[in-house]
Symmetry: C2
């Protein structure tokens, strides 16, 4: 299977080029192989654009006849923004299709595979499935839970503080990390904070340090009055929720409005509510090599907490990335 794995890995590499550009679609890559040589490649480049399979078939042309297709996701079989890929595959006379994973969407869910098989094309599912699942966590949560994917981003000192006892939190992380945060914002549909963060820091929460679209801003507010002059209101796309609402209710409402991913940016209370609700899918800590101290300083996770270390929430697929002076620790709490 060595050869087959290499071809599928190439398809996954291609799929990754679409990360952050194709939502709410999944990222998909495709490679067409004849006599052990790649004769066509493609990936899904932008929402509404042609699917990876169609791009690859176009490149392969008549060489697709009798060839093997490696695609990271089960080919679609319905009319969406584009016609069904299964029709094009059958027409191309590809003889075998390797799909890394099934598309769990209602209109797919093995239907595409069945259609290919009925047309006499051999199919195999599950080659490099883990890698294929990993690059489409947002899509998978959306489809399986009908909820937005939730990333929690926290900037903390080495002693785990997100603000000093006075509430000051400006400048914990370095300038390069700020740019990274703006990249994160541009990759999410919405940024969510508590009213306390708006009142304490008056953040704009938009994307300025890089080119990219600014996300919707979501504020969880209780009784607090947020002045109309707050920087966050400079853009029009702000939604305010009653902070006494259950986290799942908020996420459901956001999903209904088309929000597929949320970046939770603070503060302590909001972080804690999300963590206690089990609603955090990805946790990103930007750790600055500084010490803030203070029994009353804010931390990223207060509340009751766990009783024994063995019940701690453990991050999976952890990545460590040094950004400027800071260390970014990025991992998953839920896998879809």
């Amino acid at each position: 299977m060595k050869k087959e794995i290499d071809f599928m890995r190439r398809a996954i590499e291609l799929a990754k080029k679409g990360v952050g550009r194709v939502a709410p679609n999944p990222c998909v890559g495709c490679v067409i192989v004849k006599n052990d040589r790649i004769v066509g490649e493609g990936w899904h480049k932008r929402f509404g654009g042609p699917h990876a399979e169609i791009e690859a078939l176009k490149k392969a042309g008549s060489r697709a006849c009798g060839a093997v297709m490696y695609v990271t996701l089960e080919p679609c079989c319905h009319f969406g923004k584009t016609p069904p890929c299964t029709d094009a595959i059958i027409k191309s006379k590809v003889r075998e299709v390797f799909a890394a994973m099934i598309d769990p969407s209602l209109h797919a869910n093995s239907k595409g595979i069945k259609i290919l098989r009925a047309a006499g094309i051999r199919t195999q599912i599950g080659l490099c499935e883990k890698e294929a699942l990993a690059i489409n966590q947002i899509f998978l949560k959306n489809v399986r839970c009908k909820l937005p994917y939730v990333t929690l981003k926290v900037a903390a000192s080495l002693d785990g503080k997100i603000a000093a006892r006075t509430g000051d939190s400006t400048g914990i992380s370095c300038k390069k990390s700020l740019k990274f945060v703006h990249e994160l914002r541009s990759e999410h549909d919405a940024v969510l904070v508590g009213a306390g963060t708006i009142l304490a820091d008056n953040p704009h929460l938009g994307v300025r340090l890089i080119k990219g679209k600014s996300p919707i801003r979501v504020i969880l507010a209780g009784g607090q009055h947020i002045p109309a002059s707050a920087k966050v209101f400079r853009d029009k796309n702000v939604i305010v929720f009653d902070s006494r609402r259950n986290i799942n209710f908020v996420l459901k409402k956001l999903f209904e409005r088309g929000v597929r991913s949320v970046l939770v940016e603070g503060g302590e209370k909001v972080f804690t509510s999300f963590l206690e609700a089990g609603a955090v899918d990805r946790y990103i800590a930007v750790i600055a090599p500084k010490l803030i101290g203070g029994a009353r300083a804010k931390t990223p996770f207060s509340g009751k907490g766990i009783g024994e270390i063995k019940s701690a929430l453990i991050l999976k697929n952890v990545e460590f990335i040094q950004i400027g002076c800071d260390m970014v620790i990025d991992g998953l709490l839920n896998l879809y």
Copy 2:
């Protein structure tokens, strides 16, 4: 100066081989160069053994005559465990000596340099001084402050907790990190903890996971009774101090007993007292990608803390090292 810098860097590399083996002496490396070629090298290998200069001169033999010596520390001029290096250097007819830094010890402090100059040997001080100072921080603090060098080691979760609300702290970091902690212990003369840590965790605090000598154990205890059955008492080398004593008093007493380096291992109160006293020279955080949570969970730095982020304690010379599943962040709060 390019050539000279390269030779001194080689001497520093050699000096580093002595780290952790020569205390209370400094680490020293030496290179002897004739016609741009190294004709002799040496480093101080163990306390009481020959100095780096003597080793290098022995290797160089008669080629030392007219050669240039690169040494990371001013050569000694007194009879200690071995005769003065200055005598041997003069006798060897070396024509020039580059020393990276002055030895601030009372019996040295430029005296060695003056003796060489009086004998007609050209001397230059300060080449690669920063690197030479960096490898001898323990020695420099000992000489300048007459106090042991203090390393604080903390194992924390990603949300900055060192124990759950129940006090449980067992198993925060991974097994490989534990081995790293045992290495740290074996490199320090003493390990210091509060009585609370002994009562909560009953640690042995010795070196077991690697080969190495176990440090003296120092316990800061207030009114608490520590049972004689506590694991820490299995070895005989335990000193108990009244925790109401000033940190500087404790460090002074330890220095008088010959302790040149202390590893502070917990808990929250002890960490906070040391940090508030400005007594921590090196801060090592072993961060596990887990979340513990809890407003009442322990953190590495409580107390009053700083008021504004711009007054945060900032680590210098920071190193990030991945050990097993954990990220180790290692930096200096004081430079000597």
